[in-house]
């Protein structure tokens, strides 16, 4: 599967096709740094512009085009062959294509981590602690024997732990909760779910 790239995007990438492997690799690192920090660095663009003999604005648009190229490639989960073919179609020769692929593969994990922070994330389960207690008395009632289970549910969102939630339940509801969630877990192994997961790829 090849990347589909718009004309203005191709234009911004065009001057990069004339660079050698080393210079192109440096530009890739600048693009990754731009993705990681979320900011552009005009000073480094000016430095690169002087070194490469082009305008700072050209460098900036080229780096941003590389950013877009990497993000689209990661989004489409391109294989090495597909990535190489896509960049070859843009005019990147053997060494240049190899440099781009090397930079892309080196930073795949980082890209995945960054994009996962941007994705839609609801609070998800992180941990559960439990404790069994017997209530023997309270201010309002003495001579009690009430078994209770205290639960501390830890959730997280975008890599950060949220304040833990303290909950309580009794033996009957604990059993009901366990059984219901066990049934939920069984559901993913059913033929219906397996069929859907097999067909949507």
């Amino acid at each position: 599967m090849l990347l589909i790239i718009g004309d203005s995007h191709k234009q911004h990438l065009s001057w990069l096709t004339q660079l050698d492997g080393g210079a192109l690799y440096d530009c890739c690192n600048m693009a990754i740094a731009c993705i990681s920090s979320g900011r552009t660095t005009p000073r480094s663009y000016q430095g690169a512009a002087q070194k490469l003999g082009v305008g700072a604005e050209v460098v900036r648009s080229g780096i941003e085009a590389l950013v877009e190229l990497f993000l689209q490639s990661h989004k489409g989960a391109l294989s090495d062959i597909d990535f190489t073919d896509s960049v070859a179609a843009l005019g990147f020769g053997g060494d240049a294509a190899a440099a781009l692929l090397a930079a892309f593969n080196k930073h795949q994990v980082e890209l995945r981590r960054l994009l996962s922070e941007l994705r839609l994330d609801v609070p998800h389960y992180a941990d559960l602690e439990w404790r069994h207690d017997v209530t023997v008395a309270s201010r309002m009632l003495r001579h009690q024997v009430e078994p209770t289970t205290l639960l501390r549910l830890q959730t997280a969102q975008r890599g950060e732990r949220l304040p833990s939630i303290t909950l309580q339940t009794d033996p009957v509801n604990l059993l009901h909760l366990t059984r219901s969630l066990e049934m939920a877990l069984e559901e993913v192994k059913t033929p219906h779910c397996r069929r859907i997961m097999r067909h949507i790829k």
Binding site: H132, R142, L174, K201
Partner: protein
């Protein structure tokens, strides 16, 4: 079980037929039980007292003292004999003692049940709802292809009406971890129950 001097005075008023006639005493005791069990302020009997020419202030005092007596006796899990002893000390006649202890013993489980719910505790889980989704793609990744569970724990808090939700999502592995921990807790509970 100890009662303050004010309550003991009130009980003496309640037991005295010159202040509270026999016919009206039964009405007061019935209203005491209704107040606790139905959790509603029952004051219509005061109008009835006024209509019958009974001193409303004394009726209120008797009602308040009997209410306190029932709540304290239920709180301390008192039985009929404890209650009878206390009422004798407050100079209650034997027929009224019999009436009060009979009604108390009848309503004690219900009163204790209401008292146990009047406590400060964390949200109590009463039910769970779950949903299994298969995430195909999102705007950052063309292919996600992961099953995702959304779990909704329904909780009750004493003193607050209705149910509240605690919602979170989890992957299959996270749900396996959660279920494993809950099964561990239930096994431990079963062992304790067998001891």
């Amino acid at each position: 079980m100890e009662l303050s001097s004010n309550i003991q005075e009130g009980l003496q008023v309640a037991g005295d037929f010159t202040f509270i006639p026999d016919s009206f005493f039964n009405i007061i005791v019935d209203f005491v039980c209704k107040s606790i069990v139905d959790l509603q302020d029952q004051t219509s009997f005061l109008e009835e007292a006024a209509a019958k020419g009974i001193n409303v202030a004394l009726v209120k005092q008797a009602y308040g003292s009997l209410l306190t007596l029932f709540l304290e006796a239920a709180k301390h899990d008192a039985d009929a004999s404890n209650l009878a002893g206390l009422l004798e000390d407050c100079k209650f006649p034997s027929d009224r003692i019999a009436k009060v202890t009979e009604i108390f013993v009848l309503h004690k489980p219900r009163i204790r049940s209401e008292l146990s719910r009047t406590a400060n505790c964390p949200p109590h889980i009463v039910d769970v709802a779950w949903r299994l989704d298969y995430c195909i793609k999102d705007n950052y990744l063309d292919k996600v292809n992961e099953p995702v569970y959304t779990i909704d724990l329904k909780t009750e808090k004493p003193g607050e009406p209705g149910l509240h939700n605690v919602q979170f999502s989890c992957t299959v592995e996270q749900l396996q971890d959660l279920v494993w921990k809950l099964k561990d807790a239930t096994k431990c509970l079963e062992k304790i129950a067998q001891v």
